[in-house]
Symmetry: D2
Subunit: 361 residues, 4 copies
């Protein structure tokens, strides 16, 4: 398939450009009867929306979705669900100048090489604006999952400020309590200061998001290639600016011995099988084991900076790019709902796949 | 699709269990006329083969592939290519005892939960033995790529021993010069010592593999979901024991500012567009840009240790597992050809996809 | 995948209901640089549009498409192309009564069984209105094909009136010369009379469409399952009311002997290999051979008739259905552009797939 | 995907050539716990086996399958199931002469055009020998379906001999009672005579197979493209020599009026909703409605005849082809189990897909 669809049984196809008329998504495979709340979709879009705080780009978008098909009386009919989010603050004129220069670490050059033509306005398809469609689809995906499944992503590092507390000591209900989306208020303040300082100097900063999935039923994941963490990894790496992803012990596992790393099986007080530690991050052999799924994703600093940069233009001449436009000093706070959306989409897809082979009484 | 196939235009489907009659792979989509050398396949299988050094498991497998279809006169006919690798040293009796206990951090428990039944012998499908099929397929994938494309993976960390030299200062032709597959002989010796010490104590160690892809043509990758690094990430995360993957600057990017991280465009002496730095790791906007593709993958310590472990059995009773069998103290040296194989498979698949939309003169 | 997408490299996903806000399609995989003419799309939609003659339903739809993404300066950018066709004459009130009764030979009952819920208005997704999206996508698919490829479908039978002349004796440029879309004016008049007589009596009639594809390059089709005629067959059978499809000699082949049926190879005056006869219908072993591709598709009489019918309602009671609404006495004339569209989509998809494995100089 | 796989949740991939070492199939997605009986597989292979009567080719193949993976204790483990059927009577020497000439109405020419190279022996991949793999996979597919589902195909026409009785007046348990596989003994004799007469004269004959599926649960089929009859149609058209397929009233529907064709809904004595007639052939709107599914497939006369034929060779010269080898005078009797196998595969795939969206109590 071409690359604008994701998922097999719960399948989303996104379309639309940053500075065209809008962004859309078609969801195919949503089981009939699934609750579809436009309110919930729009609330979630507001979490990703630009202009929500001084930490984000000044571009203002209402980001209001409309339902074009597949829903009657707030329930999925089984037909494809199409959602449309009109762009309201697209300014093509901002981009006439830069249309000729390859912006460093943007996709201008690679799109030109691959497609021969390039949408001249604002990154077109490679802009993170596309992720609004994912967030909207993610809300519907979440409706398919049991309410026992809780997906919480939060910012655990911004530039040099790291949240060192383990997630089990955090109150995950406080993630949206500040503009950074870090559940530790103290740490959030430090992060905010770092972001504002970067903004002040026309620069940008990166960071790390951690995601905790509680209540995921065991059995999701399809070895040997569509392992649950492999599909989650692909989904997360497909988010703009993501440079890496690690599960459970992740890169730290390289420093551990088998005797330390192995998660001994045991029981909880209800007699359910659990593991005493969770270095596996809730996934073993590519299949969820019922323990919390834990992963981290690294995001690079945003490529658009408010400083002059050296580059070449489409004719091959070296030029100085004087950046204009409206962009984010740090992508992390707005990436939190995108990460959560992609997780919901992957889990729903795997849940529907699992249902097809599950044993019936 | 169920999970035992990978790729869309160059598509592999693997089958077979660790302790069954053998392991196989069907390759569909290999362009007619592609060279298929059984010698090359068997040489590459020898790099992954158990028992190749004292750093690896004592299980002895010939790992000789036979071609069952799709090849005439050492060339692909366009029909599916089937390869079969018979198991020669499978010992089911080694596993009768552990069949009842869930080995910690293995896939025993999750397979039981997902499938209700379990192949009792040696991990069955979840064993890394399956990767022999990937390595064989990878050799054919590599034949599709131009000889200008060089894929080199090497061990850059074993437990606490890290190779700190950048890859540009290494002689990548020396990777197979030692049993560890680290191109720096000095560092390799340290790594070897760490592995042997772990083996001595019945323990295992993890590590990190770095992979460098030189000569990859620009234009590969299909946004927005099938970005090149997203597909590479999925492929690598699907390898047994892999816990994380990062591209270019990876997790370090979190510590950098946009003004440091951006890769300025420039020219090489032939007038080709290059970037002065390569924090992007050869991929921008999900599409290869012609610079070297660089990624790292973390591997946890092998779960099978030669020590008693606490666990529960299938009846839910707590038991002590007395490990037997023959396993690797460190998976890294044998994972190098697996990583390279998956890279070749991903690149071939994306190359064939790119060809379908490329401009023709 | 769920069922609302078709094609692998040129991939369409349709959405929207008959009496909702509109109908849409997302096209993914259209090569950058492909010409996209909104005029051509709207001209083709006019061929399928209801209300175009007294032979068709009185429902009036403008059927004007708008482009939502993927096109700049009338050329595809490589991004997904979204087209939207608003419904202008949807009358939900026409359907309040029938929402409770299962209309005979409609999809009301099977949708209820499958999905549990049902879009109450006008057949929702099962209405032929969905095919407007296919026709729009077909125009773009046709742009990918060489102009040497000519796809001509025409009505060759309406009820008991059959066009007996072989296609080689017809002037295919005259297909749109009458409302029936039969290139023989005399025969068209007879067909028209049959349709109007059926309309007069509140009844409907079926028929057969023949399709001729000239100039199709040899080599398209992917054995053993994705044979060209197998994929064409699926595409045509997926059109509303289609009950059968046959290629070349079709069902008549059952009456022939091998010595009669075999197509002897020979040369044309340019030295190209041709076959003297064409019972194969342009496809051998599932791959196009360069001869004209010929197939026929049977369409049943439209299920909506202007007569009372016995049926049961959703509570299981037997009821008399008094049909209302506006429907076609014969679907054939409007099905011609739909057949052509599906052919263009299948050929484009196979052309892109063939390109990926074609030999390069 | 390349063309050698079929199905999405129950997915088969076939490989192997007519005159290579053997034929194989990998089945991915078979639910764990499914019964897998090698006896049943080999019995069914015997129904397709060459040399089973004087009506078929004299090539003798044991057609004994072995299981290479995915089955323990006669039950599927959830891992891919690989089956291998060795060729025992492959004679490459039979084909050395014809390797240079394009056999009329065979795939020699189109394979050459598509792939540039050609497997020189016996049609290679385009030979109907490949269908042995489908028959084996079909037995496993059938195990997934409820025992209430009955799939019966039979020969209803050979050349000019047609069985005119409706299927409801036939005893379908007698299909295998004669070598033709026609459940009417009288008619079978006539058919047999026609086949033997053709064989005598070195010629071949075609015919029609009818298939009846009783007990199919309602709800299978995924509109709008993956309609149940569209997928069945593709599956059947992918069988060698098949030139057409029709469902329910099929091409006869063209001669009917809506008032005649519509299937009125009613009740059976148990209160279940049925239709009084079944012109729809058990499928409405692309979804099974619980009534018997009925379709017919046309098969052309076998292309290999024992007569001299004019053709061209690979150098473009006109030559006389003196046919040798061992082939079937009529493909119909052996095609019966192939049709049934493809039906079982399509139904299983759709059943698994339906399960994923079904409502749960």
């Amino acid at each position: 398939m071409p690359g604008n669809s994701f998922g097999e049984r719960f399948r989303i196809t996104t379309f639309g450009e940053s500075h065209g008329p809008g962004i859309g998504v078609v969801i195919d495979g949503c089981p009939a009867g699934t609750q579809v709340s436009l309110d919930d979709i729009n609330k979630e879009l507001a979490r990703r929306r630009p202009g929500q705080s001084q930490l984000t780009t000044a571009r203002r978008e209402d980001d209001i979705a409309v339902i074009q098909s597949g829903v009657v009386d707030r329930k999925a009919t089984g037909a494809p669900i199409a959602l449309w989010i009109a762009n309201s603050d697209a300014r093509e004129s901002d981009y006439t100048e830069i249309a000729q220069a390859y912006r460093p670490s943007h996709a201008d050059y690679t799109y030109q090489v691959k497609y021969g033509v390039r949408d001249p306005s604002g990154g077109g398809r490679s802009s993170a604006r596309e992720t609004a469609a994912r967030v909207a689809a993610g809300v519907i995906a979440r409706s398919i999952l049991s309410s026992a499944v809780q997906i919480n992503a939060y910012v655990t590092q911004v530039h040099n400020v790291m949240l060192t507390k383990p997630w089990t000591e955090l109150d995950l209900s406080k993630i949206d309590g500040n503009a950074v989306r870090c559940p530790d208020a103290e740490c959030a303040k430090q992060m905010e200061a770092v972001i504002l300082a970067a903004k002040e100097s026309g620069d940008t900063v990166g960071g790390v998001i951690q995601c905790i999935i509680q209540g995921c039923p065991p059995g999701l994941g399809e070895p040997v290639f569509d392992k649950l963490h492999a599909d989650l990894g692909k989904a997360i790496l497909s988010i703009n600016a993501c440079k890496g992803v690690e599960f459970g012990s992740g890169f730290q596992s390289a420093l551990m011995k088998g005797s330390e790393h192995n998660d001994a099986f045991s029981h909880d007080t209800n007699g359910n099988i659990i593991t005493n530690s969770n270095h596996s991050g809730g996934i073993q052999g590519g299949i969820s084991n019922g323990m919390p799924i834990v992963f981290r994703a690294a995001f690079k600093p945003v490529s658009t900076i408010m400083r002059d940069q050296q580059t070449v233009d489409t004719s091959g001449q070296e030029v100085t790019l004087k950046s204009k436009g409206r962009h984010d000093p740090c992508v992390l706070p707005r990436a939190v709902p995108i990460v959560e959306a992609m997780v919901a989409i992957v889990l729903s897809d795997h849940l529907l796949k699992f249902r097809s082979i599950e044993h019936r009484v």
